[in-house]
């Protein structure tokens, strides 16, 4: 467990981390979220709003939807979205006429990028489920 001193140091360091500072850097950072949409918080994406609401209501038994229930629903929809992207990557990179080693190289590179989003969504759902 972090000590009070460590926590204070972390907070000070976090304030220094303001992301890219130059105009060009900020522009690149802004475009990251647009490349595949996974960097955008799914809870703020209108495309998934209805599914998140529906799942949150189902999980709470139509009672009041708590913050943790909503977070579980968001993380679950995120996981389902990531799995569909992974399936699309298989179809795009693996099931083609290219030689097998080339297909695998492209597939593995794409999966490596996707993995951190899946890991994040999975951990988020785990935390939210435990808090429910």
């Amino acid at each position: 467990m972090s000590s009070d001193r460590q926590i204070a140091a972390n907070r000070i360091n976090a304030k220094k981390s303001t992301g890219p500072r130059s105009k060009a850097g900020r522009e690149v950072s802004r475009r990251n979220a647009r490349r595949h949409g996974l960097a955008i918080d799914i809870g703020n994406d209108p495309v998934f709003h209805d599914d998140i609401e529906k799942l949150a209501r189902a999980l709470s038994g139509d009672a009041h939807v708590s913050e943790h229930v909503r977070e579980t629903a968001e993380a679950e929809i995120d996981l389902l979205r990531i799995r569909k992207i992974r399936a699309w990557l298989y179809d795009t990179h693996y099931f083609t006429d290219a030689a097998l080693p080339n297909r695998l190289t492209e597939l593995n590179e794409s999966f490596a990028k996707l993995e951190r989003y899946e890991r994040r969504a999975f951990s988020r759902r785990k935390r939210a489920l435990r808090a429910m």
Binding site: K54, L55, A58, L59, L80, A87, Y90, N108, R130
Partner: protein
Amino acid sequence: MSMSSAVSEVSVFKPTNELSEVFGEPALVGLEKREVYDGFLSLIASAIKPTDPIGWLLTKDVTDLSWDIRRERIIKVEIIKYYQKEVVAELIKSLAPPGQFMTAMYRIFQADDDLTLWETDPEARVKIDEALAAKGHSTSAVLARAYMRGATQIDTIDKRIAVYERRRDTTLSEAGLWNDRLRQQLDQATTAIIEGEFTEAAEGD
């Protein structure tokens, strides 16, 4: 018993329409069939008998992760087969009859046909494997070379499988925290599923 035959022996378990709508179409690829996936989900659900939406959510997660593992294992088999063929394609040239002219003729006109036979005709394969073994290239030596060539890709797939397996274990633990009965049933169901994965991957689907 293979997974496919097991699926046909259980009654169909489905999540509620509301949850099915949210889950949407399963993330299938290539020639994977919807009915096989539904049967797989049904097989797990029939063992677990989830009674609430959380139970279904975790059941679906275990199903999807098991499906991913099964898919990766099939691809791993394809990689090994690909490099096995590549190794045999090189070694088969050593089966040429003696003499410079005959060797050249075999390599130009016959080697490719023999390779096709090795790939498609089980009886011809046995004979070619025997001929290669007589030249010092046993089946296990060929397989070892295939593994060496595909080592990087096989290693990447093994790491992915390990990640999916860890997540499936985590989901089982979550199920245990949520409901002890659910954890025990999920645990028992996945033992059968894991055995099924090996069978299916070995069969190459």
